[in-house]
Assembly symmetry: C2
Homo-oligomer: 186 residues x 2
């Protein structure tokens, strides 16, 4: 089984080390991990570097049997939007999607924290921000579409709060996702 390793680690300077560590954990469970920056499968030549990266990632996802997403909040209350995009993409292909977050709290508490009191209650009791946007309050890890896609596919969303200094490199929650995926496939 090939597993696409989605997440914002692609933005880290030591991403190759993280890719190798994730692939080693996959291998221990009899799987092949595919990192976004791996040499891309054959794709049509694109006019720009970014489009070549995009088409490579699409081809990687098509060539994998499942996806594990690092949904640790990225510069805000939510996961990296590219990772959210890839999660939806793989779910639409009907294959298992799993996720993990190394941050504490849920989407509601993190959103309210970042809004720093610039919220008020509607008559319904719901919180809304200064733009008049409701703060989703289902007690989920992220926007309900992300949690929902994982649940609908039979996956798992592991939350394992880690101190900030180690948040982007701790792989315990990731390992639990790999083990869950291995058990799903038995």
């Amino acid at each position: 089984m090939r597993v696409y390793l989605a997440g914002p680690e692609v933005f880290l300077a030591d991403r190759d080390d993280i890719a190798a560590a994730k692939k080693a954990i996959c291998a221990e469970h009899g799987m092949v991990g595919v990192f976004p920056t791996d040499p891309a499968p054959q794709v049509p030549p694109a006019e720009t570097n970014w489009m070549q990266i995009y088409l490579g990632n699409e081809a990687h996802i098509h060539g994998c049997d499942a996806l594990i997403a690092n949904l640790t909040p990225f510069r805000g209350a939510s996961a990296d939007p590219g990772t959210a995009y890839e999660l939806g993409f793989m779910r639409a292909l009907g294959r298992p999607v799993l996720g993990y977050s190394n941050a504490a709290g849920n989407f509601t508490t993190r959103s309210l924290g970042l809004l720093r009191g610039a919220v008020h209650r509607r008559a319904s009791g719901a919180w809304e921000d200064a733009d008049g946007m409701e703060v989703e309050d289902f007690g989920l890890t992220d926007n309900l579409m992300l949690d929902g896609g994982i649940a609908a596919s039979g996956g798992v969303l592991v939350v394992n709060p880690i101190a900030e200094a180690a948040r982007w490199r701790d792989l315990n929650a990731f390992t639990r996702c790999v083990a869950h995926l291995a058990a799903m496939k038995r």
Copy 2:
């Protein structure tokens, strides 16, 4: 043609008015707009309200021929993560995806603005934030996966900066997406 109307307007108190306005624009172009909060198609009963919403949105997307996403940045430098998820989902189905943003700037300039100087240059010249995460610098509207999916599908990403007070309700960029979609289908 049925068009799924993705975007964070679902969080606004007057979302029904916005849904009606978007649907009217679709109708003028011979299309049927489908808003996330429309009565859901038949889906299996879920144990929770949020899962029922999720499954309804999935069914809506499956039942549409194209998607137009409001990618105006939502509480940060990027689009709402639920919208990013839906964009990826529809792209994976191989149907046209289009998007618009009513905010100025690109992903790089917005990210650097929100990071408020807590960045430094790598030896390569790339910006990275305090977590060591590179700031994507392709001059795109959002994370390259979002821009890439739209381009790969033959869609268009319309950027039309609007003053903050009207940002969530101005439909000029949306209308341009509808017109583009109508032209694609001729």
